[in-house]
Amino acid sequence: MAVLIDLCMSAKLESLGRLIGSLSNCAKAQGFEQGKISSMELAAEEALVNIFRYAYPEAPGDVEMICKLEGDRFTIEIIDSGIPFDVTAMPDPKVAGGVYDREPGGLGIFLMQKVMNEVRYRRENDRNILTLIIQKD
């Protein structure tokens, strides 16, 4: 399995552009079509922004993004050493209803799961490891 990107940056909003830009260029170079690239960008952004906002309440921390290609599956691993947070355990937001029925929370995780083929979480050595997988076809 080829590691295509391994980037470590501080877990702040300012890092978003560089992380997503690298991801996007990499996926393009691997021949993924624009629709899939947009899905990867969305899922990665949602995961990263959750980390920027919530992972490190006490002191600043880092986030690592590792992209790999395994056959026709593109894998994005997003790793932080912040507080334990399993995105796969969150309940879905309500997606029906008008303006007053909708709450802003939970939407990012929901979108992430909808646009990727697989989303996996594990906690290992005091780190959250989120794996996002999308297929080429």
Partner: protein
């Protein structure tokens, strides 16, 4: 992301160009807020040149929309396409707002 705002009748037309991601959404929300505090309450968001939106972008539109309901104002959308349209559909936000194919069609109605 680039934001162009023009006045058409009693509506502010905000044309977004580029990506409405988490980094761009607070500036966007501030621009909307500034217009509202000047008394504008009808907005057409023109997404013809918008390539991408994330939940942060959706959230800023939802928050602004709730504020506007209190002053009997509204937001309508036009020009959704590609990943932006997809995100609006998946999230259910496409049912919350009036959506037009083109800004011209929207301006005839509002």
């Amino acid at each position: 992301m680039k934001i162009d705002a023009t006045k058409e009748g009693n509506a502010v037309v905000m044309s977004l160009k580029g990506r409405l991601d988490a980094a761009a959404s607070s500036e966007f929300e501030t621009r909307l807020s500034d217009c509202i505090s000047k008394g504008d309450s009808n907005f057409l968001l023109n997404f013809t040149d918008l390539e991408y939106i994330s939940s942060a972008g959706l959230r800023s539109i939802l928050t602004t929309s709730k504020k506007l309901k209190e002053v009997n104002g509204k937001i309508v959308l036009a020009g959704l396409h590609g990943p932006v349209e997809e995100v609006f559909k998946i999230s259910g936000f496409i049912s919350i707002f009036r959506v037009f194919g083109t800004p011209e069609a929207a301006l005839k109605e509002i």
